[in-house]
Symmetry: C2
Subunit: 383 residues, 2 copies
């Protein structure tokens, strides 16, 4: 059988060859502990600082605003626990990933509703804000539909709320965090333009190494430490630094940003072609989520009554790798909170498939996969 | 100049070529998210589980007792926070690493004293135990002197204390944790023989990848989660798994255990040779810590009034990389808690150097380094 066609870039991305190349020396001759005193270790420290600087400037931030973490989940945990006390009120989007919902459950959390297209509007956030709300967290784009959220508009709303609080003598601060793991390389990540205070990014979602992430923390925000110890990452997150991982992350993010326009256009064209093939051949198929505000590589569809899991296994046998939704949720057999949030019935949610395209997806892949997907859905739908 | 002689293996170890080889496929063709449903991802899940199994059996544990973490500091944090409530009393050794002291400071902590040789005796632990003590944490060996602690004897004491508590109707559990990061590959790590409930290991200290570690948790111990989210690592520590890192860690630990006897003997002989050279040439030099209960690669010496930092820089210029102590502490200019704990005066502590030998240290290295170290100390001592 030929190489499988991978259409699950939202779950994992392969390490870019350009990234691997810059990481490799830090596994071998540059293995030094960056806190050691000799020149070779100081060189490694300098390389690490330089990578941190490049990560920061890639998103319009400053080097000292970057906290390196072991992936997105830890970054989100640091943001929430760094800011909040146990009784604090917070608002998160109804379509947030488990990484956000998990830590949010430790606080007084209210979900901002999604509309039927998967969009969390400023109005929906405003409806659940109280004078006690200390943190709002909305992903830049969710991982299942790939719907891109109006962060700048929500930020503008939160700015008004802050001014109104100040006017009324209410001192509770209001922070805005966004998990942009899924959106890196597809949207403008400039933190000032997004209007946020804290940003989570994940190297593993943009062709960088696994278990490498960051939290960007605007300089006016003071966090409590998540992991005390040797005092690395300004004491917020101790542990000998992952030099190879950080160097690789910086390269991966730079590549993603540099290629953003051309690659988004290319992937969007292929995704639209796949969508056309599917909806033309299967008139009852519904495309989930906003088709206007959507990551270029995402396509999420439902067919009422379809057993999507069976389609995934059938397609796998045919050499096409797709998902029913977020990998960590799919693995546990729980129904997607995202599909429920946009109002899908259980039988529509259970009949949904996520296709996510990426850097190695070709025209030939999409042509072949399109036909195989249509056949698989037809076969399972008529069983 | 020729390749520098690296004598700081306690700070960082280079990635073993045998480890890199098994990791590499998981960066490229096996990059899949192990929670995805298709066969290729399930294969990755199987490889991950198998590596977890090998990590467990390497220390005499079971697969389900292993929690993979991003290094030792996180592992220690998970152990402490997973067991303890904020007001709990705990006991840690006076020579513990910052990774333990950092999280310990969040609780009611008492330090078990070290003797002048760096040994934390069962008596010293017994002296500070109360009926409220919930956790005792003693490193298998400290990172500065490399003194190996009598864990099995301390475990026997704690067993008596538990039985005594039970007899008196006291229900407070008493757990025994050990950070064995520094000792992996040099001592017997079998958890039942050590008599512990929780064990921390770090891949980066045994020629494995950086930011990869584990917490072994005996099946009778129930932990609270450290990082909630997607539910990986049985919900204790969420985040897409570091497959390459885990595969590499398993290989690194297996190599370390397999080569333990031969490599310990080889390194010990070289270390003893270096020690002989130094104490013969420099009669006022004091060897710190137990010379009997010591990791084979460690040598820590002091000369009263010496500016050890200057020696480090001088030796670096001569092509010998050594340390004054733990890298994270040295970097902050704070005096070593280990040297203070064994009763060294400030001028002795500031005049101390740590040499740590490892897998790539050769006879020629030690011969050349010995002379260079003697010259450097002589030069600085007479300034």
């Amino acid at each position: 059988m030929s190489t499988p066609i991978y259409l699950d870039y939202a779950a994992a991305t392969p390490l870019d060859e350009r990234v691997f190349v810059v990481m490799q020396p830090y596994f071998s001759e540059k293995f030094y502990n960056p806190s050691a005193a000799y020149a070779a270790a100081r060189d490694v420290r300098r390389d690490l600082d330089e990578a941190r600087h490049r990560l920061a400037t890639s998103i319009g931030g400053k080097r000292d605003e970057i906290v390196l973490t072991a992936g997105a989940t830890e970054s989100v945990n640091l943001a929430f626990r760094g800011i909040l006390e146990p009784d604090n009120h917070i608002v998160i989007g109804a379509t947030e990933h488990a990484a956000v919902r998990g830590v949010a459950a430790e606080y007084q959390v209210t979900y901002a509703k999604s509309d039927a297209k998967g969009i969390i509007s400023p109005e929906s956030v405003a409806a659940v804000l109280t004078d006690d709300t200390k943190l709002v967290s909305i992903a830049a784009a969710d991982s299942e539909l790939g719907v891109v959220q109006p962060l700048a508009k929500i930020a503008a709303l939160l700015g008004e709320v802050r001014r109104d609080r100040a006017k009324r003598g209410i001192n509770t601060p209001l922070y805005f965090h966004s998990d942009a793991s899924q959106a890196a390389g597809a949207i403008d990540l400039h933190v000032a333009r997004l209007g946020i205070d804290l940003l989570t990014l994940n190297a593993a979602k943009c062709y960088g190494p696994k278990q490498v992430g960051l939290l960007w923390v605007a300089s006016h925000v003071t966090l409590k430490p998540l992991i005390p110890g040797g005092g690395q990452e300004r004491g917020l997150r101790s542990g000998t630094e992952n030099v190879a991982g950080t160097i690789g992350f910086a390269r991966a993010l730079q590549c993603a940003i540099k290629d953003r326009h051309s690659e988004s256009n290319r992937v969007r064209r292929l995704r639209d072609q796949l969508q056309d093939t599917l909806v033309t051949a299967l008139p009852d198929l519904v495309v989930n989520g906003s088709q206007k505000k959507r990551l270029p590589g995402h396509l999420n569809v439902s067919l009422d009554g379809l057993d999507a899991e069976r389609v995934v296994f059938r397609l796998d046998n045919e050499g096409v790798q797709v998902a029913t939704g977020a990998a960590c949720a799919a693995n546990k057999g729980t129904r997607s909170n995202v599909l429920t949030a946009i109002g899908l019935s259980d039988s529509m949610a259970d009949g949904s498939l996520r296709f996510s395209l990426g850097r190695q997806t070709t025209d030939e892949d999409i042509e072949r996969a399109g036909n195989l997907i249509v056949d698989a859905i037809r076969h399972e739908a008529t069983l």
